[in-house]
C-alpha cells in the first residue's frame, strides 16, 4: 500500500544554513508519526516544506503517491492535508464558530460559494459537530482573540479537522498548555487516528513515548534515527544528541 505521506530526500537551506537536509521517511495511514528533536532541529521547517509554506530546494513530497513537491498551501490542502502552527494562527477578529465554518466551507459544493452563507448546510453542521466535540459550544460566539491560550490551541486543532483532512500536521499542539489540558489533548490526538493520519511535533518525551506509533528524530536538519518509540529511545546517537540534553 502506498504510504499516505512519503518524504524523499527533502532539503532546504537558509543562506548557508541547511535547515532541513536529506530527510526521508514515510507516514503510515491511521498512525501517529512524531517528529522530535532539539530546538532548531528543523522540525517546523519540515512541516513548512510538506504543507507548501516553503518550497524545498531538493527532494520530493508525495501525498497518496501524488507528487506535491512545492505545491502552494491551498493545493496541499485540497490534496487532504491540514496543518496547525507552532504559534497559534487563527482569525482573532472572527468568532469561534466563524473560524470553524471558514475551514469547513471547503466541504461544500462550489455551487454554494455565491449563495447566502446560511445555505451552506454541510459546513454549518460540521461547525456544530466540532463545537460539541471540542467543548467549545458555549463559546461559539466569542471572538477568538478573547479566548484563553488553551482554548485557542484546542480550537486550532478543531479548525484543522473541520475540513475533514486525510493528513493532519500538528506542530507542538500542547505547547504552553496546563498539565490537565495537555493530557486531554493527548487523549484527543489518540482518538483522531480513526479518521486521519497524524504527523506530530512534540517536546514532551513522556507524551511522545505513549502516543507515537513511529518516531523520527531530527538533529541539525538531518534525520538522526527513526523507528518505534522504544527502538528510538534505545539508540545511542539519539541519546547523545537529544535525551542527553533533555
Amino acid at each position: 500500500m502506498t504510504p499516505v505521506l512519503d518524504i524523499r530526500d527533502l532539503g532546504v537551506s537558509f543562506g548557508g544554513l541547511k535547515a532541513v537536509d536529506q530527510v526521508s521517511f514515510q507516514a503510515q495511514r491511521h498512525r501517529i508519526t512524531t517528529v522530535i528533536g532539539p530546538n532548531g532541529a528543523g522540525k517546523s521547517t519540515l512541516f513548512n516544506l510538506i504543507s507548501g509554506a516553503l518550497r524545498p530546494h531538493r527532494g520530493q513530497v508525495l501525498i497518496d503517491g501524488v507528487d506535491m513537491t512545492g505545491a502552494a498551501p491551498e493545493r496541499t490542502k485540497a490534496a487532504g492535508l491540514s496543518r496547525s502552527f507552532q504559534i497559534t494562527s487563527l482569525f482573532s477578529e472572527l468568532t469561534v464558530a466563524e473560524n470553524l465554518r471558514l475551514a469547513a466551507q471547503v466541504l461544500e459544493p462550489v455551487g454554494r460559494t455565491l449563495l447566502p452563507i446560511s445555505r451552506s448546510t454541510r459546513a454549518l453542521a460540521k461547525t456544530g459537530q466540532m463545537l460539541d466535540r471540542f467543548q467549545l459550544a458555549h463559546k461559539r460566539d466569542d471572538l477568538v482573540g478573547n479566548l484563553s491560550h488553551g482554548d485557542q490551541r484546542r480550537l486550532e486543532i478543531a479548525v484543522c479537522l473541520a475540513s475533514e483532512p486525510k493528513i493532519l500536521l500538528l506542530d507542538e499542539p500542547t505547547q504552553g498548555m496546563s498539565h490537565g489540558d495537555t493530557a486531554a489533548t493527548a487523549e484527543l490526538v489518540r482518538g483522531l487516528t480513526d479518521d486521519v493520519t497524524v504527523l506530530l511535533i512534540e517536546h514532551d518525551i513522556g507524551l511522545v513515548m505513549s502516543l507515537s506509533d513511529h518516531v523520527v528524530v531530527m538533529h541539525q536538519g538531518r534525520k538522526l534515527a527513526e523507528g518505534s518509540p522504544d527502538v528510538v529511545r534505545a539508540d545511542p546517537a539519539v541519546q547523545a544528541a537529544y535525551f542527553g540534553h533533555a
Binding site: F91, Q105, S118, A123, L124, D141, L143
Partner: protein
C-alpha cells in the same frame, strides 16, 4: 443559526433603510419646494457614496487601504461621458463603464496585489496619479479642462422614462443604483466567498492553509471594488454634464477614505452616511470660510482619535442589540477593531 457578521450586516441594512427613507423624504421636500440645489447636492453625495462603498469593501473587509480608488471612478466617468456623447443611452453608458472598470481593475489588481500593506497603498496611489496625468495631457479627452457638453438624456425603463435633467428624477435613479451596489456588496460579503475576503483582513497568512487562494480572494475583492467605483463614476457626467481629470486625483480618493472613516470602517452603510456627512460638512463649512479643508482635516483627526469606529460605530451597536432582542439570537459582540494597522510585511516587499 446566525453569526456575528450576518447579524451586524442586518444592523447595517436597517441603517441603510433609514437612509433610503431620509432620502425619499428629501426627494418629497425637494419636489414640494421646487428645489434644485439640495437635490443636486444630494445626488452628488450619493454618487461619491458609491466610491466610498468601494473603499470600505477593501479597507473594512479585505483589509487593504487603497489610496487610488478614484482611478476606477474616473474611468467610469470618462467612459460614460464618451459613450453618452456618441449614443445618449443610460444603459449603454453603464455597460461601457462596467466593462472598462472591470478590465482596468483586473490590470490594476495584477499590479497592486503583488504587494501588501503600505506598498499596496502607495501603488494604488501611484496608479491613479499616473492615469490622471495621462488624461490631463490627452487632448482627445479634453486635457486639463476635461470634457464638457455631455447631453441630458432620457433614462428609459419600459414605458417609463426619467430625464437626467430632472433633479428629483435623477436623484431617485442614483439612489436606486447606489443602494443596488450596496445590496450587491452586502450580499456577496454574506456568502462563503465573502467570508474568505473578511478572513484576509484578520489573518491573510492562514487563509491558504484552509484551502483558499489568498491571491485570488484579494483579486476578487479588488475587482469588485473597482467595478463598484466605476459604476458610481458613470453617473457623474449625467449629473454634472462634464468630466475633468480632478475626478481621478488624490483628493477624490482621499475624500472617499475620509468618508469611510467618518462613517465607520467595515460597515458599508457607514460609507454612505460618511459620504453624505462629508458633503454636508463641506458645504456648511465652505459657506463660513474658504479654508474649509483645514476644518475638515481637523474633524477627520478628531474622529480618528475619539470616534475611531465612526458614525456607524456609534449607531450600529444599539441597532444590533435591538435586533437581537427582537429575534432572540445571541447579543452583539464588540465590532472587530477598525482601521487595520498597515503592517509593513517584509515578505510582502516587491520581489
Amino acid at each position: 443559526m446566525h453569526d456575528r457578521l450576518t447579524q451586524s450586516m442586518r444592523a447595517s441594512h436597517l441603517l441603510a433603510l433609514l437612509f433610503v427613507l431620509a432620502s425619499l423624504a428629501l426627494a418629497a421636500m425637494g419636489t414640494a419646494t421646487d428645489d434644485t440645489f439640495y437635490l443636486r447636492l444630494g445626488t452628488e453625495a450619493l454618487i461619491f457614496a458609491g466610491l466610498a462603498l468601494s473603499v470600505d469593501l477593501l479597507l473594512g473587509y479585505s483589509g487593504v487601504l487603497s489610496l487610488g480608488q478614484a482611478l476606477y471612478f474616473g474611468i467610469g466617468a470618462y467612459v460614460s461621458a464618451l459613450t453618452l456623447m456618441k449614443v445618449p443611452s443610460f444603459w449603454l453608458a453603464m455597460a461601457a463603464a462596467f466593462t472598462a472598470s472591470l478590465l482596468a481593475a483586473i490590470i490594476g489588481g495584477l499590479i497592486a496585489n503583488r504587494v501588501r500593506g503600505v506598498y499596496f497603498a502607495l501603488i494604488t496611489f501611484g496608479l491613479a496619479q499616473v492615469l490622471a496625468k495621462v488624461v490631463y495631457n490627452t487632448r482627445e479627452l479634453g486635457s486639463s479642462d476635461g470634457m464638457i457638453g455631455i447631453p441630458v438624456i432620457e433614462i428609459a425603463f419600459g414605458p417609463f422614462s426619467v430625464s437626467t435633467g430632472s433633479p428629483v428624477g435623477f436623484f431617485l435613479i442614483v439612489l436606486v443604483v447606489i443602494m443596488a451596489l450596496y445590496a450587491l456588496t452586502a450580499y456577496l460579503l454574506d456568502t462563503p466567498f465573502g467570508r474568505v475576503l473578511t478572513a484576509l483582513k484578520s489573518n491573510e497568512r492562514r487563509v491558504p492553509f484552509l484551502g483558499y487562494s489568498a491571491w485570488r480572494a484579494r483579486m476578487a475583492a479588488y475587482v469588485l471594488a473597482g467595478v463598484v467605483a466605476g459604476l458610481s463614476g458613470a453617473l457623474y457626467p449625467m449629473l454634472r454634464g462634464f468630466v475633468s481629470p480632478e475626478l481621478m486625483f488624490f483628493a477624490t480618493s482621499g475624500n472617499a477614505v475620509i468618508s469611510v472613516v467618518l462613517g465607520g470602517v467595515g460597515t458599508l452603510a457607514g460609507a454612505i452616511y460618511g459620504s453624505v456627512l462629508l458633503v454636508i460638512l463641506k458645504s456648511i463649512i465652505g459657506s463660513w470660510t474658504e479654508h474649509h479643508l483645514i476644518v475638515i482635516g481637523l474633524i477627520f483627526m478628531l474622529c480618528v482619535l475619539f470616534l475611531p469606529k465612526g458614525l456607524a460605530g456609534v449607531l450600529r451597536p444599539p441597532v444590533e442589540a435591538w435586533l437581537s432582542r427582537h429575534r432572540r439570537i445571541p447579543g452583539p459582540v464588540p465590532d472587530a477593531p477598525v482601521l487595520p494597522a498597515i503592517a509593513v510585511d517584509t515578505k510582502a516587499a516587491p520581489q
